[in-house]
Symmetry: C2
Subunit: 199 residues, 2 copies
Amino acid sequence: MTASPTRDALVDAARDLFAERGYERTTLSQVAGAAGVLTGSLYHFFPSKSKLLEAVLESYLGGLDPLVMAPAFARSDDPVEQVFEVLADYRGRVLSTNFAYRCPIGSLALEIANEDDRACRLVDANFSAWKAAIRSRFELARKRFTKDVDTDALAALALTVMEGAVMQAAVQRSIEPFDLSISQFRNYVNSLMKKGSPI
Amino acid sequence: MTASPTRDALVDAARDLFAERGYERTTLSQVAGAAGVLTGSLYHFFPSKSKLLEAVLESYLGGLDPLVMAPAFARSDDPVEQVFEVLADYRGRVLSTNFAYRCPIGSLALEIANEDDRACRLVDANFSAWKAAIRSRFELARKRFTKDVDTDALAALALTVMEGAVMQAAVQRSIEPFDLSISQFRNYVNSLMKKGSPI
DNA sequence: GTCTATAGGCCGATAGAC
DNA sequence: GTCTATCGGCCTATAGAC
């Protein structure tokens, strides 16, 4: 809401700590400390830990297009390939964190489901926006599919595959299950496309 | 290890509470209370909360075949259909819990990753056993696939799809993203099989 | 093996000076 | 808006009687 450097620093710190350690394990004094203030100041901006979580989820929503989609889309002119560039970026996050990466939205989703309705709705908004961005790519490629493709279902599967693949890579501390899953998804998308217009 | 009614009750209670509320949100007095004892007794069997978590994950491992795979496998003689019966059971859990169901192993995976090495390895063991059971079904159907199918990759994708689909259903409080994802997975598996031997 | 009782610490949140 | 100081509570874990 308000543009305040302290507020921004608090949200940034909370976002990083929630992603690294989870919501419940992160204490407000850790958040305040990482932002360079004390908890008294934190409560000036956020009346509760839960409201801070909502601000973090809103920040993810705002960062989706500029930080997740746009950089991947920029690396290819082929809309279908753009989808796989997004997935390739997740692969890069898994590797660059030495398999510590977990999707922060997915992790929060499972941690707070049935506990925090407002936050859950914001997770839903993040998922919906993610799928809408991916779906738009498949829509652009509609002419190259052999049949009428359900781009809604394809986008849901893309998110499903990303979440499941990232989760398995983290547990196994190996990129193998990620690559196996994505390669199968690619096979499937290829199977839907006319020959001569491979991805 | 030791067969003790109290110990069993503690593990059962912990399993249910961890699944419902997560590991961090569950307190040991809740676990003890649900098992009908006090925390002093809990510490007779488990020297720490982390060791109780390990016992829970071992109990999931022991329950995988009799509770997850066998009932689904029993409903069909077709090994490929058996895979989809397993997924259908997850669908049933999502619906019967009014969308509160989240895969307890996947939830623990994301909650404890990078926090508890021993527990993480047990999550890995659960995932590996799940994939091995599914892979064995695809192996039994090997003759019906058109090409040499990578059953390892297919099993990894099956777990990926289950985890991602269950997660989305919980967030969206709707079965739609689950069904969309599974229907796409079924399309893919069908596309790998010889015509005249559909699932 | 189960109990009572409690240690010791950290947490979310608040009050109020500046 | 940021600080100091602290409340009240709950947590994991322990000690020791029975």
